[in-house]
Each structure stands twice: as structure tokens, then as C-alpha cells.
Symmetry: C2
Subunit: 408 residues, 2 copies
């Protein structure tokens, strides 16, 4: 691997103008945009307006006047563009977990003879937990089957109703082959739900091209929608007909304001709506997504790869035996890098004390995310050098750095 010259790379970086569209704290190098995206500058002004004018001044009339009622669809359409989905196939709603529940239930209902939800044993826990919660609730022999990433294709047999996979793994940064695994699932007669939490807004995703059935993802990582921003859900057009899900709340009704006795699902993805959406959080996400206007996602991923290579190369130059869990081939990974250290938590705390923010994942992983819209090559190189100093100098070896906080 040859090291690009950071200064030159920054000078020719096509995403350099985007940095100014984010509000970043002085003196911090933020390598955790894969956990909580940075604040887009458009958000504070939008929030102030939504609070003071839409809520405070126009009050309940804003449901019509500012079209709050269709905000989930408008936000969905903005996200659709980033994940290879047609307009009208994505809706913003609830959390990733809740949306997984809805879509797994939809999938199971469409494969009535089959009882298995197949997922990766290393999938993000909430995916596995929610699949388990649904299977137990249905209580008719449904079960969750776990397989290692390499054994997914082999585990797809005629008992599998639906496959639930996260494209980019949260702990390793490894990226699954969406196209091949979708084809394999379909060959086995199963449906597939893709979790795009670590993909959406970080790289090109082509749901339609991969022929995916369903997808979910969160709004607060690479989409920069703010803490706990609403999540999204995608349904392929071929599944829109008769779409019905069990969290059948009033805003998923075909005509909610008729207040009819019978539930009649709305057409298409609107049937995935449940209760009244959190308009303040949803508006922040809407404003945040403006940042993506004009963004070339392939270029974005190329910059993330270059940043990641630069970081790893800089670390390896000083610590040759550092262990990375992330595949090196660009097509096999997302936009994060996961390095091992036996005191990973304390190392990360020491690094944070120096102004470099990444995060820790059980049991011994330091996770660094490279959000190319607001990171420079210079910062990434500097962060890597600081990591080396922290490790080489034993800076992490202090008791107070080893005491775990509530959220790690």
C-alpha cells in the first residue's frame, strides 16, 4: 500500500467543500460518524423554525400548512435516492428495530409454509433480538437460525422464510455481497431484509439492482439525522400490493382521518407507518439529508477507502503487528476500520482525551469510522499518529481509563 500525501489529497479532494456544511467542534477529530453523524449546519436553523414557527405559531394547522403529515414520505424519498430505491418505496418511521419487526412479519406472512428467520450469528444484536421476539410471539414453530457469514448461502434451505442481513458488519466493517446473497435467498424461495445501518449514506447501495425485497436502516449514522433520528424502511414495488403489517397504527391507515372502525392499510410503504411520527426529530433528519444533494456516492466510498487505507498504513508503519478485523479489499468492506487491542477500551479513552473520538466494541475492538463528507486526510493521518503514540507510550495504562462508562 502506498501512502497518499495527506496535504495533496486534501487539496484535490472533491468533497472538501462539504466540510463547511457541518458544524464540528474545534480541536476534535471525529472518527465516530458511524455511531452518531456530525451536525449539519442546516439543522439548527431548521429546528429553530420548526419549533418557533411550525409548532409555536402555526400549532395544529401545521399538519396541513407545513405538510407534516407527508414528511415521512418526503424524507423517505430523499433516502431512496441514496440506496438505489425508486421514489415512493421508502418511508421514514420509528426505529430500525421496530421496522425490522414489521418487515419480518410481512415476509413471514408471504411464506406461510416456512418457519425460519435466518440471520448472521454476528449480526448487530437488535436484529437478532427482534427476530427472536417476533418468532416467540407467533409461537407456531417459528425460529431464528444463526449462521456464520461464510455459511449463510449454505444455510438457505427450503425451511427459510426470510433472511435478515446487515450489509456492513458493525464489529468488523466487513461487507456482504448484497446481490449474490439476495439471489441465493430467492433461489431458495426465501425473501430477504437488508439492514443498511452502516451503508446508507456511506457508499452506493443498489437495492433495486440487487432485487432486494425489503430493507431498513437508521437515520443517525452516515445520514447525520441526529441522535436517535427516525429510521427508514424500504419495500420493493412487487411487494406493495396487499402490504399489511402487524403494527397497524392509525397513520398506516388508508384514510386515517375517517376514523373508521376497520383497519384498511394505506397503499404501498405508507402501510408501514404506525403512530404519530416525532416531527422535531424527523425535521432534523430532513434538513440533514440536504447535505447529500450533489454527492457522488461512488466517489464518497472511494474517499472513505482512501482515508481508511491512510489510517491503517500510518498505524502499520509504526505498529506492524496491529490486527485489523476489517477486510482490506475495498469492495469487501464498509467505511470503518476495526482494530484490536487487549485494552481497547482504555486506549480509546486515552485517544478521546487527546481529542480523537472513535468507539469501542466488545470485547477488544477499537472502531474508527471515516465519514468522508467532513473528514480531511490531514486529520485522519494525525489521528493515526496519535493512536500510535497512545499505544507505544502506554498512555492507556491508567486505572481511570479502564473504568467503563454506562454507554461504551
Amino acid at each position: 500500500m502506498t501512502q497518499p500525501d495527506a496535504e495533496t489529497a486534501d487539496r484535490t479532494d472533491p468533497f472538501a467543500p462539504w466540510r463547511g456544511r457541518f458544524s464540528l467542534p474545534e480541536g476534535i477529530i471525529y472518527l465516530d460518524g458511524n455511531s452518531l453523524g456530525a451536525l449539519p449546519r442546516a439543522v439548527p436553523e431548521r429546528m429553530a423554525r420548526v419549533v418557533a414557527e411550525e409548532w409555536g405559531r402555526d400549532l395544529v394547522t401545521s399538519w396541513n400548512k407545513h405538510d407534516w403529515i407527508d414528511l415521512p414520505g418526503r424524507v423517505g424519498d430523499r433516502i431512496a435516492r441514496l440506496i438505489g430505491a425508486a421514489p415512493g418505496t421508502v418511508v421514514a418511521a420509528d426505529s430500525t428495530s421496530v421496522n425490522i419487526f414489521k418487515l419480518l412479519a410481512v415476509a413471514l406472512a408471504r411464506r406461510p409454509g416456512r418457519k425460519v428467520i435466518l440471520t448472521e450469528e454476528d449480526n448487530f444484536p437488535t436484529d437478532v433480538y427482534i427476530a427472536g421476539g417476533l418468532a416467540s410471539l407467533m409461537g407456531q414453530g417459528h425460529e431464528v437460525r444463526l449462521a456464520p457469514a461464510g455459511g449463510l448461502a449454505a444455510a438457505m434451505d427450503e425451511s427459510v422464510a426470510v433472511v435478515l442481513l446487515t450489509e456492513v458488519n458493525y464489529r468488523t466493517g466487513a461487507r456482504l455481497d448484497m446481490r449474490a446473497l439476495t439471489r441465493r435467498a430467492h433461489d431458495a424461495g426465501a425473501l430477504i431484509v437488508w439492514d443498511l445501518c452502516h451503508s446508507a449514506g456511506a457508499m452506493p447501495v443498489d437495492l433495486a439492482g440487487a432485487d432486494a425485497d425489503f430493507a431498513v436502516g437508521c437515520g443517525y449514522k452516515y445520514l447525520n439525522g441526529g441522535p436517535g433520528a427516525p429510521a427508514f424502511a424500504y419495500v420493493a414495488p412487487r411487494h406493495h400490493d396487499g402490504l399489511r403489517q402487524p403494527l397497524s397504527g392509525w397513520l398506516g391507515h388508508a384514510a386515517p382521518f375517517e376514523f373508521a372502525a376497520e383497519y384498511r392499510p394505506a397503499a404501498g410503504v405508507d402501510a408501514l407507518r404506525t403512530g404519530t411520527p416525532p416531527i422535531l426529530s424527523m425535521s432534523a433528519l430532513d434538513a440533514a439529508l440536504e447535505v447529500f444533494d450533489g454527492v457522488d456516492l461512488a466517489g464518497l466510498k472511494a474517499k472513505a477507502d482512501a482515508l481508511s487505507d491512510l489510517f491503517l498504513g500510518t498505524v502499520r508503519a509504526q505498529i506492524p503487528d496491529i490486527v485489523s478485523l476489517t477486510p482490506e479489499a475495498h469492495e469487501l468492506r464498509g467505511s470503518q476500520l476495526n482494530l484490536r487491542h487487549h485494552e481497547a477500551y482504555a486506549v480509546m479513552q486515552a485517544l478521546i482525551a487527546r481529542g480523537v473520538i472513535g468507539d469501542f466494541r466488545q470485547p477488544d475492538i477499537m472502531r474508527f469510522g471515516f465519514a468522508p463528507l467532513y473528514l480531511s486526510y490531514f486529520e485522519v493521518e494525525r489521528a493515526a499518529m496519535m493512536l500510535c503514540q497512545v499505544i507505544a507510550g502506554g498512555e492507556w495504562d491508567r486505572p481511570e481509563l479502564k473504568r467503563r462508562a454506562k454507554v461504551v
Copy 2:
């Protein structure tokens, strides 16, 4: 009914100081706080701080630094005080609809031999829809049984697992007897879920005193938490042991940051948490709830009753045959008044054009909510007089007022 003198009543109103804690638009009389509560003045400053400092400056470290992780419990405790619940028995999460789903599932699991969810045929639609969605999903003979308000007690037989009732009806303002119906449900061996959407923050609610099992409610009506504010869920302490619900997302786990393979529910109401909460909307709700510090809820309801009596008395003085759907006895009603008119929608539009905001409910109902924290007797009397003018003058009889908006 004798009319209080509005001016005198305002002069001696113990809630007069609260008006200044809300930001209300000039020239508007807002009688729709039961649909979307007005903006508390504490909210814009808090939102600006959460966005700029907690999210923008402190980024992901805010989960610990500003204790975002326990915000749902802190907000829950603020709400607990308003609904007769002990600290640690309420959590803010998701929407009312989603929380109904969780609690009905919990209740059904605790009454395994019984298959019926009993609810009021006139309950708010989302309650009935969600019950139906859950019953269909479980598909083991579960069913939703509907009974008229007067026939609820009689419908509680040994087949009923859980009763789902809204304390104050959205269309009539009638209030059910929580204590008696809870006792009746328990006598029949059933559990009960109370929906407090039109009660919480409007009147004293005594969940513990009534021995209720579960409750839900929304944050955006009388709690003034902002459009689509997170909802809440209550679980009586006797049901905390082994509490487990099917939307078993990662933040309901006993140790979410261990990222364990097995789901192990958190203790108590934390097990009702599912995905990452919308922190911006949740923070607005938290700030809004400060308004209730020092509020005497019995006094609040007394003022609402007085406002409602004043409104109805003023209307009746000019339109003696106006039909009210709302019981007149204070103990039998909530804080809203529901009047009939064959062109209710157009009348309400004409009234809104004059600066009096109420809302319309199918098929012929004008709904006026009396939020005593920010309404004066003078305003309410004036609004009633304007309603009379609109009706008497036929001001509603214009085609453009009859064209329904998307949200009515």
C-alpha cells in the same frame, strides 16, 4: 348553570402565571391543546442547546456526558408524577400505538388460556387497529371484542385476557370510571391497559390507586411535548418481575453494550424500550414537562371544567338547541367539549379563519379543548361568542370552507 364573570375569574385564576410560560401566537385563541399542546417557552432554548452543544459539540460522548441513555426514564418519572404512578414505573418510548402493542402482548402472555382483547367500540381507532394487528399476528384464535361504553362491564367474562380502554373518549369527551372498570376487569380475571392520551396532564389520574395493570399515553397533547412527541408506558410494580415484550430491541436489553447474543430483558419498565430513542423530540418533551412543576392537577381540572361550562353556557344562551356530546357532570368528562353541527367541518374552518382553533371529528363534531395552563376565561367566552356568530350568520356556508384538507 350560572355564568362566572370572565374578568373576575381571570383575576383570581391560580393558573394565570402559567400563561407566560407558553409561547402563543398573537390573535389566536387556541382550543386544540388536546390535539397538539402549545409550545412551552422552555423548549426553544433547550432544543437549541441540545442541537448545538449536546449533538454538535459533544457528539457521541453525549450518551454519557448528558446521560441521553437514561433520558427515557427521567422523562418517564416526570410523567409518573402526573398519573399517580411511582418513580421507576413509567418509561417514555416510541408512539402510543407501538406501546399499546407491547403491553397487550405482555398482558396476553400473562393470561395464556384466554384469547380475547376487549375494548370499547368507540375507542380511538389506533387502539382497536393495534389490538387487531396483534391478534392476527398471533393467529391462535385471538380476537378483538368490541363493546359499547355502557356494556363494557357486562362484556368482561372469563374469555377476556385483557381490557384496553381509553379513559377520556376522543370524540365525546366522556370519561370512564377507571377505578370501577379496573376492579371489574380483575374480578373477571382479566388485566387492563389504560390509554391516557386525553387524561395525562389534564386532570388527576391515579393509576396506582385504581390498581391499574398497564397504561400508555401520548406526549403531545396536554403534556405539550411537541408534534409527535414520544409516548409513554406504565407497568404496575407487581408486573415488573419477568417483564418481557416482543419488540425486544437492543435498548430494552439488561446490558445493551455487552452486545450479547441472547436477549435478556432489562429490569422493570426499561424492558419496554426497543430502539434508539429520538433524543431531539425526547428532549423537547423533557423540557415541556418542567411546566408541570408545582401544578395542582385537581385545580387544573376544576379550571378546565369551569372553562368548558363557560363555553357551553355562552353558546347555549344564544343557540339553545346546540347538541353537546359531552357529559355535563364534571366527574364524567375530560377537558374537552364536543358539539354537533351538520356542517361541523365548515363551521370549524370559518372559526379558524377568525382565529379560534379547534378541530373537527367525523362525522359532524366540533371539538374544543380547554388547556387550563394557557387559556383565559376571557378567551374562552370570546371564542364561544364567535362560534355563535359563525353559526347564526351562516358564515360557514361557503364552498371553500367545505373542501376538506388532508388532515382534518
